[in-house]
């Protein structure tokens, strides 16, 4: 009986252990694993949510970044002329010399626009955008002070003895006027209108030729973000208002305006009854 009681107890304990084992193996274990899986899933979705929140929050930073880029791009875009109107710029440059008292403009010309492009960040393609420059060459000349210029007053008083001694009877115009005109040009639009070269050349006859090359810059920007200026110096015409410019120019030089010394007696005249000008005696005969 004593053994049977112990055996029963042991059996009971074994049964309990078995039940507990089954419980842990088949019920608690899977549920516990499920909790682990769910916790992992929670961490994953939390990380995903954090990533999404971070991206959304970063959007604010991106907006600020875009604004700063826009400002930098706009600053560069606005630093240059929106377009190069050669007649407008050349007229302003000519006026600078007139305004500074050296109005004897002997040459004005412009170069063909030059385009420079850059490699895109990928290093394989050239940009559509381009830096465009046009060179304006102007030459003016000074006076010798000996010959009368259009600036001298015809009714001027007699030259002084000192002037006569130095043979400077009239206004002497030269380097000072030229350089002050250049300084004016230089100060106008320091980023987009720049002096490229300066040349001084003595004529050997008491006056000098002064040449300047001015380069005007613009950019070809298909994706321009700022509104280009449509008015202002070097952009809009600054000369005589267009509707006030007299329009009585001619096409072809009329005969009476051809200087007699330049008239050619032997030129073929396809329109004339006599294809070449008739000799004087024939004319008389006629």
């Amino acid at each position: 009986m004593k053994m049977a009681g112990k055996q029963t107890t042991l059996l009971f304990i074994a049964l309990i252990a078995l039940i507990l084992l089954c419980y842990f193996v088949f019920i608690h274990g899977p549920e516990s694993d499920k909790l682990v899986v769910k916790n992992t899933e929670l961490q994953t979705v939390q990380a995903e949510k954090k990533r999404i929140n971070d991206r959304i929050a970063a959007g604010e930073g991106l907006n600020a970044e875009i604004e700063s880029y826009k400002k930098l791009i706009t600053d560069i875009e606005k630093s240059l002329l929106p377009d190069i109107e050669t007649q407008v710029i050349a007229q302003i440059l000519q006026d600078k010399f007139v305004d500074h008292g050296i109005p004897f403009i002997t040459k004005t010309n412009t170069s063909i626009p030059t385009e420079e492009r850059v490699l895109l960040p990928d290093g394989t393609q050239m940009s559509d955008e381009a830096l465009i420059s046009v060179i304006f060459n102007l030459q003016v000349c000074g006076t010798d002070g000996f010959h009368q210029s259009v600036l001298d007053d015809v009714e001027a008083t007699e030259p002084s003895q000192e002037q006569e001694d130095e043979q400077l009877n009239y206004i002497l115009i030269g380097y000072d006027e030229f350089i002050s005109a250049l300084k004016d040009i230089e100060d106008d639009l320091p980023d987009s209108v720049k002096i490229r070269s300066i040349t001084l050349e003595d004529s050997g006859q008491g006056f000098m030729y002064y040449s300047v090359s001015v380069v005007a810059y613009t950019m070809y920007l298909p994706n321009r973000i700022s509104e280009p200026s449509t008015s202002g110096a070097y952009i809009t015409w600054n000369g005589i208002p267009v509707n006030q410019i007299p329009r009585e120019g001619l096409i072809g030089i009329p005969y009476d305006r051809v200087p007699e010394t330049l008239r050619d007696d032997k030129i073929y005249l396809p329109f004339a009854f006599y294809p070449t000008p008739a000799p004087a005696d024939t004319e008389e005969g006629a």
Binding site: P121, E129, R196
Partner: protein, 300 residues
């Protein structure tokens, strides 16, 4: 004796019952303990199970809530907006890169400034008449007449005292030739400046030299990669073997040379051809373009 025997039997019986009762109560007691432990274990297990179940439910609830937030149309909208912003930022970044590079190109171009002209004008000593000045591409050529052969050097020294040039090349200081004074009276000759001078000052420490070999036709294709080098002002740049170039078994011969956009004259061109090299002292930014035509017979 019998009495003592009875006493022994009685004692034995009592021990028997005593043992019986002790063993039975022990079994019952341990059974109860085991049962109690079992119940406790069941209770703990059940509690633990319930706790885990609740916990799983809580976690699932959290997951569902977060998923709901992730899948919310507003979140998707915000994400799409962020992605668009990213694309936009990249576009702006590229745009900024391009305009900055173009602006850099503009800044890299050498320009003239009137402050240098002022410095030169203020530095001309007595005995010098400046007749020519060319200020271009980072160099200044000064030419004129001087009373003595040393005055031009004094002029340069005044400029260099002000740190004007990185390098000065004395091109020439020559006395007038007899042809220059023919027909003049001694008085007129006496008033003449007897020397002609020419100096070139380099304004930059270093200059870039670019040499390109190009086909002299409409396509203007590069026959070889352009050579670019940076040389110190005053250094000599030499490119040898310029008369011809062989590309893809075809021989091209030099037809013309452009230096800084200007065509080299026939005399200089012939000289370079006879030397089979182009050589120059670097005192300005130099862009050399050698143009080639396909040698007769090689043309297909």
């Amino acid at each position: 004796m019998i009495a003592s025997q009875k006493t022994d039997i009685n004692k034995r019986d009592m021990n028997f019952f005593s043992e019986f009762s002790t063993s039975g109560s022990q079994v019952v007691s341990s059974f109860a303990i085991v049962l109690l432990v079992f119940i406790l274990a069941i209770a703990v297990a059940l509690g633990s199970f319930l706790y885990i179940k609740i916990k799983v439910n809580d976690v699932q609830k959290n997951i569902n809530e977060i998923n709901a937030e992730i899948n919310d149309p507003n979140t998707a909208l915000a994400l799409a907006k962020f992605e668009n912003l990213q694309v936009e930022v990249e576009d702006y970044r590229t745009n900024l890169f391009i305009v900055s590079q173009l602006d850099l190109l503009r800044r890299d171009n050498l320009h003239a400034n009137t402050a240098l002209m002022d410095r030169i004008a203020d530095s001309i000593p007595d005995g010098i008449i400046l007749t020519d000045l060319i200020y271009s591409d980072g160099q200044v050529l000064l030419a004129g007449n001087s009373r003595t052969y040393g005055t031009p050097l004094e002029f340069v020294q005044i400029l260099q005292d002000k740190g004007t040039f990185q390098y000065v090349s004395i091109e020439s200081i020559e006395t007038l030739e007899s042809g220059d004074i023919s027909g003049m009276t001694p008085e007129q000759i006496g008033r003449l400046m007897k020397y002609k001078f020419s100096v070139v000052g380099a304004l930059e420490s270093f200059y870039s030299v670019v040499l390109s070999k190009i086909t002299d036709d409409e396509s203007q294709s590069l026959l070889s990669p352009a050579e670019t080098m940076i040389l110190r002002a005053g250094e000599t740049f030499t490119s040898s073997g310029i008369n011809s170039i062989v590309v893809n078994d075809q021989t091209y011969t030099l037809s013309r040379i452009l230096i800084n956009g200007e065509l080299v004259g026939k005399e200089d061109f012939d000289y370079y051809m006879s030397m089979n090299e182009y050589s120059t002292r670097v005192t300005q930014k130099i862009d050399v373009k050698l143009y080639y035509v396909l040698k007769a017979g090689d043309a297909k």
